[in-house]
């Protein structure tokens, strides 16, 4: 008996009881639908987090100065400058796993154009900063090492600041702005970067040479670096090694006794990203187990209805056996029927899941990412459910005694 014909017989049997067949597949429909929708949302959220961390720059370590600890009150990281400019030079030259490093001195200050002003985060840094943060210059150029050495009054603006001062499509290169009371020449605008995972606008920023920043904002370039150091490791695999090496270097340079706390802190962005990712994976696992339960229930539903179907069609089975159906013919027929039910349920579930995900995406602006392999796995899994739960009723049918089956009323 050819497979196509068997399939046609199975479909006819299924369509004979349309409502019953539909209700039977409902468990599978909901299971697969939930998987597709939830995996879509999960993958979307994960992609968003990954994009956010990619925007921060990859392989990045941030070194913060230590905390003060006077009479038991700890001031928090950065409350006391412990990092020196020599530390920065040492990190650059002595740690092999460090590709480049840049200072990051920060202050919130008004930036004033001829007729507008905007208070933004002004960062004093070196030219490597833009490369470390993976942040290209859209118009003009970054300031140069010569600008840093000479304490030049040049500034690079973020897109939001340009929007506020000159309007969205303006080219402000060469124009003058005041930061505090000091006039600066605009030499570049950094490319639009968007928002961080926490909603902070990366583009609401301005950058000037750290020498100028120290001079004009911090009252001169002293021994201590009054801000943070951003470090890029040579690769993402090297990040944790760089963290260890820098820790050892700084402890040595700061004469921290063994057993004492560090007087600085190193944040590893890839660790934070990993933690987030782990959270997403836990969520995905949870959803997968919910889906598995739902598919299990759906499978039991299919087994139940197949058992009913076998009983109802006992006489038909007897007739088929009398005219020459072998046990494996009957087995195949009922197995194909169970398989058709579960795969149909799976396909409807895919439609349902994709629809739900699309709806959530447009209605709540959730990032949704439907992966083809998730769809393939879901449909494959529902087929597996059909086979596993169809085999018992199908075997039961194939083992019927033809005489009893023919006599069955």
């Amino acid at each position: 008996m050819n497979p196509l014909h068997t399939l046609r017989v199975a479909l006819r049997a299924i369509l004979r009881n349309k409502l019953r067949s539909f209700l039977t597949t409902l468990g599978i429909v909901i299971g697969v639908g939930a998987v597709i929708a939830m995996m879509g949302i999960g993958a979307g959220a994960k992609a968003q987090v990954e994009a956010a961390f990619a925007a921060m720059g990859t392989n990045i370590l941030i070194i913060l100065p230590g905390s003060t600890s006077t009479s038991g009150v700890k001031g928090g990281y950065g409350s006391m400058p412990t990092l020196t400019w020599d530390d920065l030079a040492a990190i650059r030259s002595e740690v092999a796993s460090v590709k480049q490093a840049a200072p990051s001195l920060r202050s919130s200050m008004p930036v004033v154009s001829e007729d507008q002003n905007w208070t933004t985060s002004v960062t004093g840094t070196s030219p490597e900063y833009f490369d470390i943060r993976n942040w290209p210059i859209a118009i003009g150029n970054a300031f140069t090492q010569a600008d840093v050495d000479g304490g030049a009054k040049v500034i690079v603006l973020g897109q939001t600041v340009v929007d506020k001062l000159y309007g969205p499509s303006a080219d402000p290169i060469g124009l003058m702005v005041r930061v505090g009371s000091t006039p600066f020449t605009i030499v570049g605008v950094v490319a639009k970067k968007g928002q961080s995972a926490t909603g902070q606008d990366y583009d609401d920023a301005a950058f000037i040479p750290f020498s100028t920043f120290a001079q004009k904002v911090q009252g001169g370039l002293g021994k201590f670096l009054q801000g943070q150091i951003m470090v890029e490791a040579t690769s993402s695999d090297a990040t944790s090694r760089a963290q260890k090496d820098i820790t050892a270097l700084l402890r040595d340079r700061h004469h921290v006794a063994p057993g004492d706390d560090d007087d600085f802190s190193i944040r590893n962005l890839s660790e934070i990203a990993d933690a987030r990712q782990q959270g997403t994976e836990t969520m995905t696992l949870l959803l997968a187990s919910v889906a598995a339960v739902s598919l299990l229930v759906g499978g039991i539903g299919i087994m139940n209805i197949m058992l009913v179907s076998v009983t109802e069609r006992t006489r038909e089975i007897g007739i088929r056996m009398a005219v020459g159906a072998e046990p494996h013919h009957i087995l195949t027929q009922f197995l194909i029927e169970a398989l058709s039910l579960s795969v149909a349920g799976g396909l409807i579930g895919v439609g349902f899941g994709v629809g739900t995900a699309r709806y959530l995406a447009t209605r709540f602006h959730w990032p949704v990412l439907i992966q083809p392999d998730v769809i393939a796995v879901s449909v494959g899994f529902s087929a597996l459910v059909g086979i596993v739960f169809g085999i018992y009723p199908a075997r039961k049918a194939s083992q019927l005694d033809p005489i009893d089956a023919l006599r069955f009323e």
Partner: protein
């Protein structure tokens, strides 16, 4: 045709064990049927004729004894092998027709061919021919519930002969039909018999047994008489069976 003895049962017994009591539904039956016979197996209910019919039809296996059908020892065959024998060597006609509901006459007749592995076009042609032989060429797309009892039984006969069987087994084939339709159906069986097919009728009606060339009487699981006779000729009488002559 080259096999003189198509059915050879030797000392066949069928024992049903229920608890401590053994019921011998068949008790040492030996029966030889030559190719081209039309044999009626008679007996009251409980005589063992249905059990004998099931064994001859390879639906059941004897507890003791041997059964050779068309030269093949079938007593020890597996379920699958028995199914293939039923498909290729035997044709069944039942009292209650046993057609698949909501399935056309043609598809019902195609059923044995499907399990025999005969594909599409050939299958439809053979099924159409079989329906024509029983005079139902113009009813091929009707469902069983659109056909009269006599027509349904003729569809069942078409299904039984579609695979060119050596033996046709008919279990009370006229039991659900009125007397006039019964004669039509018996005329078809006689036509098949004359074309060389061995026909085994199981019946408790002496009227039906009259159409056979040999009558076997059963009682309490044994054969009590076995005689040849001159069969009465069935005359197709009713208008709707006008095509029955083609059966010969």
């Amino acid at each position: 045709m080259d096999e003189p003895r198509v059915i050879e049962l030797t000392d066949v017994a069928k024992v049903y064990q229920t608890g401590d009591v053994a019921l011998r539904a068949l008790d040492g039956v030996s029966l030889r049927v030559r190719t081209g016979e039309m044999i009626a197996i008679m007996g009251s209910s409980g005589s063992g004729k249905s059990t004998l019919m099931n064994i001859i039809g390879c639906l059941d296996r004897p507890t003791e004894g041997t059964y050779v059908l068309a030269g093949r020892q079938v007593s020890g065959m597996s379920r699958g092998e028995l199914a293939r024998i039923r498909n290729h060597v035997l044709g069944f006609v039942f009292q209650q027709f046993n057609l698949l509901a909501r399935t056309t006459a043609l598809e019902n007749v195609e059923l044995p061919l499907e399990y025999g592995g005969i594909s599409g076009r050939e299958r439809r042609r053979k099924a159409g021919d079989a329906l024509a032989r029983v005079g139902l060429a113009n009813r091929v797309h009707h469902h069983p519930n659109q056909l009269s009892g006599g027509q349904q039984q003729r569809v069942a006969i078409a299904r039984a002969i579609v695979n060119d069987p050596k033996v046709i087994l008919a279990d009370e084939p006229t039991g659900a039909l009125d007397s006039r339709t019964s004669v039509d159906v018996m005329a078809i069986f006689q036509g098949l018999w004359r074309s060389g097919i061995t026909v085994v009728l199981v019946t408790h009606e002496p009227d039906v047994a009259e159409y056979a060339s040999r009558v076997v009487q059963m009682k309490d699981g044994r054969i009590v008489s076995d005689r040849a006779q001159e069969p009465r000729l069935a005359q197709a009488a009713s208008a709707e069976s006008g095509g029955d002559g083609a059966a010969a």
